[in-house]
């Protein structure tokens, strides 16, 4: 696609439920990143994919968070047993190659998650 697409744009869920957030990167982009933007914490790195593998998961805040990428394209971020502190905007970004990230990558518009 022309840009990085994220869905849903907004998600309200009840505490304790599982949610899946989807990221569709720019076609052909091999590097994919997830970030979280929350009040009081700013923007935090969560996980990086190169192709289908995730060499850097250092930012995932707990084992309730997981992500996968299939076919070197779409990625899904899953949050299990959601808590109120998970409320945030989840942003996805991609770049053509991992080294292109040095030049700044393209962000999607994000998914706003609200846990009630």
């Amino acid at each position: 696609g022309a840009g990085v697409s994220q869905s849903p744009s907004n998600k309200v869920t009840e505490k304790g439920k599982d949610v899946e957030l989807r990221c569709d990167p720019i076609s052909g982009h091999t590097a994919l990143y997830w970030y979280r933007q929350s009040l009081g914490q700013g923007l935090e790195f969560l996980i990086y994919f190169q192709g289908n593998s995730a060499p850097d998961k250092s930012g995932l805040p707990s084992d309730r968070f997981s992500a996968e990428r299939t076919g070197g394209s779409v990625s899904t971020l899953t949050i299990q047993r959601t808590q109120q502190e998970d409320s945030a905007v989840y942003l996805c970004a991609s770049s053509l190659r991992r080294t292109d990230a040095n030049y700044g990558y393209t962000f999607g518009s994000g998914t706003r998650l609200t846990v009630v």
Partner: protein
């Protein structure tokens, strides 16, 4: 560890006035530095980047930034702001992730308000 400080949480300027947004970073090696802008409900858009060469870099929308190694700063400037510049601005430093990609460490952001 890498870190970025944006000392000003909120700045208000009049339309047509000049603007300077401050950014200080902490990074052991030569940094990759970025400024992103985020309009309400939107993702992050890259304004400009620095990774080597001329310390004064030009970006989109009439913005520029100057890298000062001695001060560990990368301040963003614009000679005359427009009402459409009202947004949140983020400074970021690129930190090498596993397998050489760049993950970004962001400052807390500066919210810019423009008075007519």
């Amino acid at each position: 560890a890498q870190s970025v400080t944006q000392p000003d949480i909120h700045i208000t300027v009049s339309e047509g006035a000049s603007l300077e947004l401050r950014c200080n970073y902490s990074y052991g090696a030569t940094p990759y530095l970025f400024w992103y802008v985020q309009s309400p409900g939107q993702g992050l858009q890259l304004l400009l980047k620095y990774f080597s060469g001329d310390t004064l870099v030009q970006g989109i929308k009439g913005f520029e930034a100057e890298f000062k190694r001695s001060q560990s700063s990368f301040n963003l400037r614009k000679p005359s702001v427009h009402w459409s510049d009202a947004a949140e601005y983020f400074c970021a430093v690129g930190a090498t992730a596993i397998q050489g990609a760049q993950k970004l460490v962001f400052g807390q952001g500066t919210r810019l308000t423009i008075n007519p």
